[in-house]
């Protein structure tokens, strides 16, 4: 099966899988504890030393990525940070897809006032930027991992709702759905057994993009100081903690940028491949 996968998708899959594995086994592969202070403030990185970025004769640094603003090992912080960021983004994506697609299918199948009410409410939600809504909400509630997941998942489910409804409206007028209705199948059967399997491929392709959006969203919130709270590490938070170093030429805050960019590009590569594969099978539909 893997023979027909293009190289870009293989690379994308490999990098995405590595990030997820690193997130799952964070406590096993991290050299130190998450909040453990191991050295001095902003010690240089061994990678920079190996690349020859440091003057001759400097001793070999102890830590692969150096240390952060209070002397914690940055590699450890990045691994645990990835765990938090990827966990929140994944959970929020799942919540967003379950809520958005179930409500979208329901609106498409039942139509009438429920469809009108939901669709107009989603229009209203989407008329306001998500970040602004999130800021307004986070000014009233405490930001915990759970509230962040629910907040981001529900805000984003509006976009999934639109897609799911648009796809399901096309499918629900097909003959086989009509046949199922005439057979007297219940609403749940029509949604989960008739519409869902046929709407899955555009939804899965969209899922990659929504996941990346979630990673960017949670990083932005944490960077602004209203997302993941310390001592928990996450990529946006690492930038916030180490940003003062930049003015002294210390690049500790730039590692998360590299991590997010590589993750985003590799997920995009996989999503592109899924989209191409599913659309070509159906002769360009989907």
């Amino acid at each position: 099966m893997l023979k027909n996968v293009p190289l870009s998708a293989v690379i994308g899959l490999f990098i995405t899988a590595s990030y997820f594995l690193a997130a799952i086994f964070a406590s096993v592969i991290s050299p130190y504890g998450m909040a453990e202070t191991v050295g001095d403030v902003w010690e240089p990185s061994r990678i920079g030393y190996m690349l020859g970025l440091m003057p001759e004769g400097t001793p070999r640094p102890e830590y692969w990525l150096g240390t952060d603003q209070i002397g914690r090992d940055l590699l450890t912080r990045m691994i645990y940070g990835g765990q938090t960021t990827i966990f929140i983004a994944t959970a929020a994506t799942i919540l967003s897809f379950v809520t958005g697609s179930v409500l979208g299918f329901l609106a498409a199948v039942t139509g009438g006032w429920f469809d009108q009410l939901m669709s107009r409410f989603v229009d209203l939600m989407m008329a306001i930027p998500s970040l602004i809504l999130a800021l307004v909400i986070l000014s009233s509630i405490e930001a915990t991992v759970l509230t962040l997941i629910v907040l981001m998942g529900l805000l984003d489910s509006t976009r999934v709702y639109r897609l799911a409804r648009a796809v399901a409206v096309d499918i629900s007028v097909m003959d086989y759905v009509e046949a199922a209705r005439l057979r007297g199948e219940k609403l749940a059967w029509i949604i989960f057994r008739e519409i869902l399997p046929n709407a899955l491929s555009p939804l899965v392709a969209e899922m990659g993009l929504r996941f990346i959006f979630m990673v960017l969203f949670i990083s932005t919130l944490s960077f602004l100081g209203i997302g993941v709270q310390p001592p928990l590490a996450d990529w946006g938070g690492i930038v916030k903690e180490n940003k003062d170093g930049i003015n002294f030429g210390i690049g500790a805050a730039l590692y998360p940028a590299l991590a997010i960019a590589t993750l985003a590009i590799s997920v995009n590569l996989v999503a592109d491949w899924v989209l191409n594969r599913t659309t070509s099978l159906k002769g360009g539909r989907g």
Binding site: I128, I132, L133, S140, I246
Partner: protein, 318 residues
């Protein structure tokens, strides 16, 4: 009445309705969620009696609907009440910060819009050749990063290593325009990069869509010059999508501004909003939030109206 005028009036009416609904949604959100201004002032340890007294004093015990209309009326007339944290009038702060934010957004738009359209045209002209691929690659990279990270990468190289521009964008009235522009050069660069990517991708798609339609092929086949094909046939049909793209991206700029202002410690609306969220200053958050939402909605309405006006099919009904 001319059919175009009817459409425009309908769209404007819908827009006003949307603005009202959006303000109600934002106000309603802070009503449903636990905690209010009185709670924020007194803290968690407040007794129920103290809370009730303060609520009565601040008028928070009255029905939500009354307070909503008072609040909305206040925003429209420019009386936005006082901030919780420093007791200063919100309107003064907003007047000063709004002009700073508009200054930043104006220059970002002035640079990014022509650049995006030009690059979009180049990408279409050399479709699937290396200029197109290079442009797509760069935009993919800048879409894959949050705004604040692009900002720190630029600061790291251009402010710290090369000393080309300051890493903090502090401006004041005593500076000349040139000094002010130098101060905001990095934030403008970040905003331009962020919007450019989206705008260019969408411009490219919009122009490609027009260029692939049947009437363009007809025009080419009947022997018109390339210039005439573009000027007489492609351009009138491409205005509407391009204007829509530009407006959507200017609206996107509104959100980008929030984060970029925080990074560069720029005294604008975005920083005010984020500060207020961190300090749980609900009245300031409400007012700033509704202003941001309103700007976003108004830009989207303008995009719709322009695309109605620019549509040749609607302008010349059968």
């Amino acid at each position: 009445m001319h059919p175009v005028l009817t459409l425009v009036v309908q769209r404007l009416a819908l827009g006003i309705l949307l603005l009202l609904a959006a303000s109600a949604l934002i106000f309603g959100l802070t009503e449903i969620l636990p905690g209010d201004a009185a709670q924020a002032i007194l803290g968690q340890a407040a007794t129920a009696e103290n809370l009730a007294n303060l609520r009565e004093e601040m008028g928070l015990d009255r029905p939500a609907l009354t307070r909503y209309f008072e609040w909305l009326g206040g925003i429209v007339t420019g009386d936005m009440g006082n901030a919780l944290t420093n007791k200063l009038p919100i309107a003064d702060q907003i007047a000063f910060r709004m002009s700073n934010t508009l200054f930043l957004a104006f220059w970002a738009a002035l640079i990014s819009v022509p650049l995006a359209i030009l690059l979009g045209l180049i990408a279409v002209r050399y479709q699937n050749r290396w200029p197109d691929k290079l442009i797509s690659g760069v935009t993919l990279a800048s879409i894959s990063l949050p705004e604040f990270m692009i900002a720190y990468i630029l600061i790291f190289f251009f402010a710290v290593q090369l000393f080309w521009a300051p890493s903090f964008a502090s401006i004041n009235d005593g500076m000349t325009l040139l000094e002010q522009l130098h101060a905001i050069s990095l934030p403008v660069a970040v905003l331009t990069l962020v919007v450019l990517a989206h705008m260019m991708r969408m411009t490219r798609a919009a122009i490609l869509n027009v260029m692939q339609s049947a009437y363009i092929e007809t025009a080419e086949l009947k022997g018109l010059t390339t210039f005439n094909v573009i000027y007489r046939h492609a351009f009138p049909n491409a205005i509407a999508p391009i204007v829509t793209v530009v407006m959507i991206n200017l609206a996107y700029l509104v959100v980008g501004v929030v984060v970029v202002e925080v990074v560069f410690a720029y005294p604008g609306m975005g920083q005010y909003l984020v500060d207020a969220v961190v300090k749980r200053d609900v009245p300031v958050v409400l007012t700033c939030g509704v202003i941001f939402a309103a700007v976003y909605i108004v830009l989207n309405i303008i995009a719709d109206v322009v695309s109605i006006l620019a549509n040749p099919r609607l302008r010349h009904p059968k």
